[in-house]
Point group: C2
Chain length 199, copies 2
DNA sequence: GTAACTTACGGACAGACTGTATGCAAATAT
DNA sequence: ATATTTGCATACAGTCTGTCCGTAAGTTAC
């Protein structure tokens, strides 16, 4: 083994992250269909050959970008979770954090709008699974086990709750008066969350 | 005014409906990005010139297809609505009907998956507004006014409920065991609907 | 250290697809 | 009957995607 200025792993990591970063910016601004690979590689300062070497096709790059954004947002969310809080405030705080995160166009456009259309619903949710969906399921599972929550199937429940949060984010994002829309949405979501508690 | 074999309005109607029907089939099967205009016009038995004469571009044709599907599904839903039933059973019956309708791939792919990505979320919901969203808002408004429901902002609530129904449809559609998934989803949705009632 | 090999990348190319422009024909207005 | 508008056909230009093949950088074997 010889000494080398840049190892292969280094090169790979550099171009991959450059491409993902560029894709993130451009997909967020123009949407998946609105930006060509040429634009992406120019922004990332690599060649189209490099792109197609590391990613099977344009949608694979998109999948990597999506996973990247998902991971980041989920990490933010996880940080706001306080295991001591009761279920309802925990959930409502998570919704708050989710709405905050989704104000960034990357999340709205990439995760919520283009994700399912580009990758298909199943693949999209698969990518969400280890991240945000898993987080929700975890919180719910605890609630079900220690009997503060009704006995409901956790997985579909997590899907429904995430769908609610997604729609809320888009609703607020598209609203002319975001503050009012946000207050309304929180007022709507709270009773839904409370409905999960045992009486 | 002379007698004419085919009036202009007839010609227009014929090609428009042919294009919409073809688009409906093909968009449902291959997705918006997966089918070219050439394929559509061949299936509709018209020329590309005709397409671009009647529709500004491919996305405008898609919008027309979406409105078409929306209208049909909403009509089906409206038929199942029985004003005499109490709120919860009314809602749960609507969910049933919605899940039935969404088993058709046209609805899943066109309305739920591609719609927001192709047209943008705002335009997408705009098209839903006169149809399914309006229907939900109507039912809710009645409930709020006669005080069987909590006082919640109707519009965001309708959005959230529709989002729940959409996710349920996609969840069931993608499931390996649709019957079980459907039962689970209904079990999850019921308490959410009940949560809207005044105590 | 050198040769063999694998991995990362660059540039050119073919195919497909979208939207437009131009020309014609059918229908309607004058 | 003529003019004008509307519906439609075809050809064309521009763009974009994915592939192919060659080259260079890095890694392994001897």
């Amino acid at each position: 083994m010889q000494i080398s200025r840049r190892t292969q792993a280094d090169r790979t990591a550099a171009t991959r992250t450059a491409l993902i970063a560029a894709g993130r910016r451009l997909f967020a601004e123009h949407g998946f269909a609105g930006v060509g690979t040429e634009t992406i590689v120019r922004d990332a300062d690599v060649s189209r050959g490099a792109l197609y070497h590391h990613f099977g096709d344009k949608t694979e790059l998109f999948a990597a970008v999506l996973a990247d954004v998902e991971g980041e947002v989920t990490q933010q969310l996880a940080a706001t979770i306080d295991a001591d809080a009761d279920f309802v405030t925990l959930m409502m705080r998570s919704v708050q954090a989710w709405l905050d995160a989704c104000q960034r166009p990357e999340v709205q456009r990439i995760v919520l709008i283009d994700g399912p259309a580009v990758l298909g619903w199943a693949r999209w949710r698969e990518i969400c699974q280890p991240h945000i969906l898993g987080l929700i399921e975890g919180v719910l599972a605890v609630g079900v086990r220690d009997e503060t929550l009704k006995e409901l199937p956790v997985k579909p429940l997590a899907h429904v709750l995430l769908a609610v949060a997604d729609e809320a984010a888009l609703y607020v994002g598209a609203s002319q008066e975001p503050e009012a829309a946000r207050r309304d949405m929180e007022a709507v979501i709270r009773p839904l969350v409370e409905a999960l508690l045992r009486r």
